[in-house]
Amino acid sequence: MNATYDIVVLGAGPAGANAALTAAKAGASVALIDEGTQPGGQVWRPKSAAIVEAPVTPESRSGDALRKSVAGSGVTLMPGARLWQIERPETVWELQVLAGERNVPLRSKALVLATGAREYVQPVPGWTLPGVVGLAGATALFKQELMVSGTNTVVSGTGPLVFYVASEIRRLGGTVAAIVTPNSRRDWLGAFPAMLQRPDLLARGARWITDLMLAGVPVHWRHAVTSVTGSDRVTEVCFRKVGANWSPDGAEQMVKADSLCLGNGLIPAIETAQLAGVPVRHAPELGSWVPETNEDGSTPVPGLFVCGDGAGIRGVAAAEVHGKLTGNAAVSWVAGRNPKPDAKLVDVYRKSARFGLAMTALSIPRSGLQALTTSETVVCRCESLTQKAIRDEIASGAGSTNAVKSGLRCGMGPCGGKYCQTAVARMIAAIDGRADAEISPPTPRPPLRPVPVSALAGDFDYGDLPIPKPAPL
């Protein structure tokens, strides 16, 4: 077993990397583990090795600065590493990490989880067709490969991400067939006061929208994509006007396209915190269910900290500061001191969070969006389970996500329920007439990420297996 670190930080995005840097600066021994090849997380995702040169963007600039800071710090960086199991048998956290093709156990006194977010996509007929990618997923393609998802793309979804994605498609040489967003202009007007907290970001957003309008890209406000058609790939995208709660109520329109970027807001990635024993609560204003977390990242579990979007979708600016506050608190905990929060940092955190929460408020799907999922729509992509199959299971008495999971395998496929469980929970609430807050996410089980058996089996050949001699007859 390796030496015990003071602090292990999971996730090297703006929150996790800043937590690690702050803790290392204060003298703690820190390991920073991340799935990616380099720090940056999703928002500052690094370019792939195939990109020799590319124009600088605000994201690439911030990401490069962060990567430089981590490289020049005392933080032990473990890129390409995936945490798949957490335990604390006694006082020390024991982590199982898949690094490359090997399993590496790690130990730490304190654990900081900065697992970020994943996106919610309301299932619609045809959303499993090749050519449909997540809205946030498309940004990963832009940032990592400087590539667009098709030659003629419909960009659809909620919040500011639709405009960022459409704008990036144009910057990277693609064509935007149409923008379809359930938000109204009035929704955006309502967010304006909070956006004034960050005039720089407000100006950037205004530039995207003005450019799209000058280019004549159709923007369908208060519309949602209702279906995608094509035999083995996207060829047409249909959309309809939506009402105040975003249920479709207008005539169907169609646009030809070979790609669709589709997403309805971000959801905190909480499985790791749940597995570590942190209680979760339903907080729709923060994206969905969140681990109980304080401003300094501390949680009801001693020695366990959560920061960044994984604690609630407050956006990148808040995540950076939350990481710093959490790094401080984790160092204090390891040293057995009471944390002294930096009042100035707390103030910056609250201001940044106000902007981020306004963007989250625009992105959160409203209840009517569920009507987009028809009975034949595949909801669980891994097991190809339709809405009807899940609805029948719920009607027959499966009143929790765990019950649907054990009854149908819904959420037990390779993605581990990351792309179906939120939709399933909302279905249960709607069918049983209960509040969303009553339908908790399923119990996460290790492995948190797929683990090849070879990584656990160690180095031996089949021939090395001891086979006892057969018993004499």
């Binding site: 124009p55 190809s384 990351k418 792309y419």
Partner: protein, 99 residues
């Protein structure tokens, strides 16, 4: 036409080209890019067939979560969005087929 967001695609310089194969057919890739990106550029959108209904599937989340883009490399199931292209890499699609 005035563009507030200029097209910068020509300013991107990529690494040297290599050749990978997808189900035996040659596919041009840039060394170090993700296999998912190379296949997408070459127009190979269907990467596998889903279990149960046998429907075509391709890259979806682009960040290693959804497992839709998995392919077979030397017999191992691997996420093509997290795998870098190298010369001679043989990539096979997975066909679970209808049950």
């Amino acid at each position: 036409m005035i563009r507030l967001v200029p097209d910068q695609s020509r300013q991107v310089v990529r690494s040297e080209k290599v050749e990978i194969t997808f189900d035996g057919r040659p596919v041009q890739a840039y060394r170090g890019e993700s296999v998912a990106a190379a296949l997408l550029r070459a127009g190979h959108l269907r990467l596998r067939n889903a279990p149960v209904d046998g429907a075509p599937r391709g890259t979806f989340c682009c960040m290693g979560l959804c497992q839709e883009c998995v392919v077979k490399i030397e017999g191992s199931v691997t996420e093509s969005c997290r795998l870098a292209a190298e010369n001679g890499l043989a990539v096979a699609s997975i066909d679970c087929g209808p049950l």
